[in-house]
Point group: C3
Amino acid sequence: LTVYLLDLLGVFVFALSGALAADRRRMDLFGFVVIALLPALGGGTFRDIIIDAPVFWLTDLTYLLMCLTAAVLTFITANAIHRAGQWLLWADAAGLSLFCVLGAEKTLALGHDPAIAVIMGVMTAVVGGIVRDVVCNEIPLILRQDVYATAAFAGAVSYVALVALQTDSGIAIWIGAAVCFTVRAAAIRWKLSLPRRGGPPPDQSGP
Amino acid sequence: LTVYLLDLLGVFVFALSGALAADRRRMDLFGFVVIALLPALGGGTFRDIIIDAPVFWLTDLTYLLMCLTAAVLTFITANAIHRAGQWLLWADAAGLSLFCVLGAEKTLALGHDPAIAVIMGVMTAVVGGIVRDVVCNEIPLILRQDVYATAAFAGAVSYVALVALQTDSGIAIWIGAAVCFTVRAAAIRWKLSLPRRGGPPPDQSGP
Amino acid sequence: LTVYLLDLLGVFVFALSGALAADRRRMDLFGFVVIALLPALGGGTFRDIIIDAPVFWLTDLTYLLMCLTAAVLTFITANAIHRAGQWLLWADAAGLSLFCVLGAEKTLALGHDPAIAVIMGVMTAVVGGIVRDVVCNEIPLILRQDVYATAAFAGAVSYVALVALQTDSGIAIWIGAAVCFTVRAAAIRWKLSLPRRGGPPPDQSGP
């Protein structure tokens, strides 16, 4: 049950981030709903298709309702949300933390290899945001903000490792999510990035 | 049978719209075929994957044949088609109207919830065009032309509501398609759009 | 067994091409891994989802290991690889040749129509690269380099035709791959392109 509530929370928070992206482009209400759905449901849909599980929002309309609520709420109050400043960044970090462990948890529960569970955890967390950015014709956040997928990776690995060590899954979820959030928070706070190869600044004009 | 013929017509019309997009970019014949396939088969493929039905064009090669015909026809006669002016916009509206009800119909027939049927109707109608635009590196039409997904939504809702009211499915398809076409036609004719939030014009430069 | 080794080789080569794309954008190590996965596994994943086969890398972690190796190798030695000049173009041609026949082979083996096998061969070969380019916000290679999908098409058709003529599948794979590689090599060497319709140069600014 707790897992279910966390999942709903993650969907809500990611839908909010999508709706705010729609707001930046001054889209209409329908656009808010569509762009809110992409990050909120995209990653989990992708995961379920790959591991051949029934797509999670087909049988439980609550997920769609959360997205709709987030979209309408943002449509009405976006100015207030924007004034809250860094709010979106932290909400996004919370969604990332929840999705990476919950994606790994579902994949493990279906009997897949731990390595696959880690990959699916990362994908659940980042694919939706990639699709949102691609549809909005932006270079995905994951290519711009360095320690993003890495944080999801740390969270998913922690969860899978703890479960392998016989930790109770409910506790492992919290620890995994906390690891991901801490890594992401540190990256936001101190603008960390992974080592890069030396050389000139990124070539934005393509190959 | 009528549903089948309408489905083929929708595929043909959307393939035409894809091939014309390829023509605008002066692609070669192979590009015409590839870009024609995306809007014509993309939405339905996505729907079938999500609801875990066999992908519709795997077992019936007629769909691929329609796309091929549309691509070759456009390759030969594109100048004539361009001279026909607004033609593409109306063909696209017809495809939109057919796909939104047929997508909802197939989803309902597989026993899914009416709300899911509406969403799948909209997705069948708009996802192919989004993929076409994303591959061509354009901001999708759906983000630029306001009452587009909304028209598909109106059509799918009408169809699902009529079926819930025990209307014959064949009749409901025509009415649903007519509702979608009317909404889209009104939007084209009077350049309607959904209410937007006030503020400066859209920020094209990203977040 | 040979098919399996060729498949791994194709994955490795495509992962290399993805990692080099990540290098051009000065991404961090995690970006290298993510962008390496897209072309290497994207096409086959898409094929398996469409024909409803289990996704090939879920049950055999060797594929993921190849991608990881290619990404790390490129991260360490990318300057050397870049100095090798045209190397990437030929590696990409080899990957294209392997994937188009192996995609067709798998689809045929599952009992699908030869026409479907050809399409799936082409998709296995080109979809991963399209996704890589779309995520990197570039216009896909397939829209810029003309005889690319066409080469994959030639290879897949050759393979399917030879199998239909009762040729041993192992031999048909080599001939099909050779046909694809020859077509692609000729296109690279003499900058061939399919016939285009006359008119002004491509409009890069959208419709």
